[in-house]
Symmetry: C2
Subunit: 340 residues, 2 copies
């Protein structure tokens, strides 16, 4: 019986557990740990883990794979605390929304015999906690994989296998690129959504404004309901990139203001027409360029399976890869580029 441990049983940790349980891995025990005992009890009750342990050390000792799904800033302490008790060749991955600092911490704190492979599932919702966990949370979503310099090939394969098992799309990227890119498509929308909400909420006319607000306001401010610890940790661990994009956003708002102030109505119309066209294209056709990188994935899935779960999982991995390669436009994450 191999042991896989999830540390941090919130929305993401709980959903990973449910997705892994749904994959019906044989000979794998999924162990959970959370500093919040009631979260641990809930995760067990909801079937996200097979068992829980009362301490981090007991939960991680002997595990072949440890998944850190705690708040970002807390990961440093978790690594420090569990480092001494990890088994030789243990693979550690995480789910943090920012990668550079987490990779640094892993490099400093985990023993050389352990392979760290950073991860970031591009999935979530504004309702935190294991009660909102879903097995299908990651289905079809990009899942960033950031191997550390000293991670073994086998460790990388294992994390790719994990990503495939939860039906996400593996996307290799380096930590700095990751942080600059997600600052644009994830952290900027988060801060903007919060800023829009706090601005309007802070108006003396808020009761009247709220009465008039409809689905547009609700959707654009949805991310203002994000778990505050996550919002805080993102801003603190990806500060420079978030600041960069906030600055650019202020400039973009100025561009719109100029169009209005100068009364350039025709330009405004052309601009909105182009914007609608581009967004509709993005929504219906998906990301613009995709470089096939899945040529060897069935093989990777197979080898991961052989590593810890045997033939049954290997069969499932092959089926999944096949199903995915038959769905056009999926399973082919892009090669990450250079400029943010």
């Amino acid at each position: 019986m191999e042991r896989m441990t999830i540390v941090g049983l919130g929305l993401i940790g709980g959903s990973l557990g449910l997705a892994l349980k749904a994959a019906k891995l044989s000979d794998i025990e999924i162990v959970g740990y959370d500093t919040d005992t009631s979260a641990a009890v809930d995760a067990r009750r909801l079937g996200a883990v097979d068992k829980t342990e009362p301490t981090l050390q007991r939960a991680t000792a002997g595990a072949g794979l440890v998944i850190l799904a705690t708040p970002i800033v807390a990961m440093r302490g978790v690594m420090e605390e569990m480092a001494g008790g990890l088994r030789e060749n243990c693979v550690v991955t995480d789910t943090a929304s920012t990668k550079s600092l987490v990779m640094d911490w892993a490099g400093q704190l985990l023993p050389p015999s352990v392979s760290f492979v950073g991860g970031h599932p591009m999935a979530g919702k504004e309702t935190a906690g294991v009660a909102h966990a879903e097995a299908a949370l990651f289905t079809g979503k990009p899942y960033c994989i950031v191997p550390s310099p000293r991670a073994s090939e086998g460790a990388v394969r294992m994390v790719v296998g994990l990503v495939r098992l939860v039906e996400a799309q593996p996307l290799f990227i380096d930590a700095e690129e990751h942080d600059r890119y997600v600052a644009a498509v994830s952290h900027l929308p988060l801060v903007l959504s919060s800023a829009l909400f706090t601005l309007v909420r802070g108006s003396p006319a808020w009761p009247e404004l709220a009465a008039l607000a409809s689905s547009g306001f609700r959707d654009v401010t949805r991310l203002a309901s994000t778990d505050p610890e996550l919002s805080h940790d993102i801003c603190v661990t990806n500060r420079e990139a978030v600041l960069h994009w906030l600055e650019r956003m202020a400039e973009e708002i100025s561009r719109y203001r100029e169009l209005l102030v100068e009364g350039r109505e025709e330009d405004l119309f052309k601009h909105f027409t182009r914007t609608q066209f581009d967004r509709d294209t993005y929504i219906t056709a998906g990301p613009p360029t995709r470089t096939p990188v899945t040529a060897d994935v069935p093989d990777l899935g197979e080898r991961f399976a052989a590593l810890i779960v045997g033939e049954r999982l290997a069969r499932r991995a092959r089926e999944m890869s096949k199903a995915r390669s038959e769905r056009p436009g999926e399973g082919r994450p892009p090669k990450a580029g250079r400029r943010p």
Copy 2:
């Protein structure tokens, strides 16, 4: 047989038609007109109107109620063109997202015998056109009513009845207040959503960014897919208020930047905690203060019914009012306040 005419058979005009048809008004013929013949054909085919007419004059002549649901800027020309042919005591209403200019046009262009009562259903989606129309689009949504100074009491009642029939919540407000308020909760989110999309879309790294973008980016940029004519018309007809809120938004972004630059992590955490709490409260509890204004609404609905549809509708209006008053938290739109 009384005649009700909808001018402009897009998403809003078409949805009003479907909602009115769903109310099964007897002795009322719903006539439609659109400069785009194929939209008119579709509206007829989808059952949003009973018949269409080939010209604006033919569609509006003899109508007891005319609903203008064209793009905002086009309303001026429509009023000018139909003014001469409207029957005595005709009631004209509109659905424009901005009210001040539309009220001015109505005052200047419609004959004194006609009552204009401005309207604005706070409902919509980013997919334009009658093909996306839904009878339930207005259900439970605020519907602003802005009577012109010379509108008769009966005309106001008729528009309140219309709002009730489409199951929306009537909310009396003056034109300038309306425009300042919706600039905050509707037009600012629209411009912001577009600006976020154009900023990120314009990055040289767009292919990589798009591959990483998930539901958060999609939701916050949803309004960038708004019909460009609507976005343009809103900015042009509510320029000052939109500029005011864009300026304030730029200041709000600066506040967030300062928190980051100064490394005030605890303040940042408190701030996000407060924001999440406030938004969750708003989402679960609805707008903060509501002043009951519906005491005489069953009566209004009844009188409207008597005006043009007879007893059967009056019964339905009573039932609807009753159902509404039994649902807590609904049917009590707030009294609009003063400051934006």
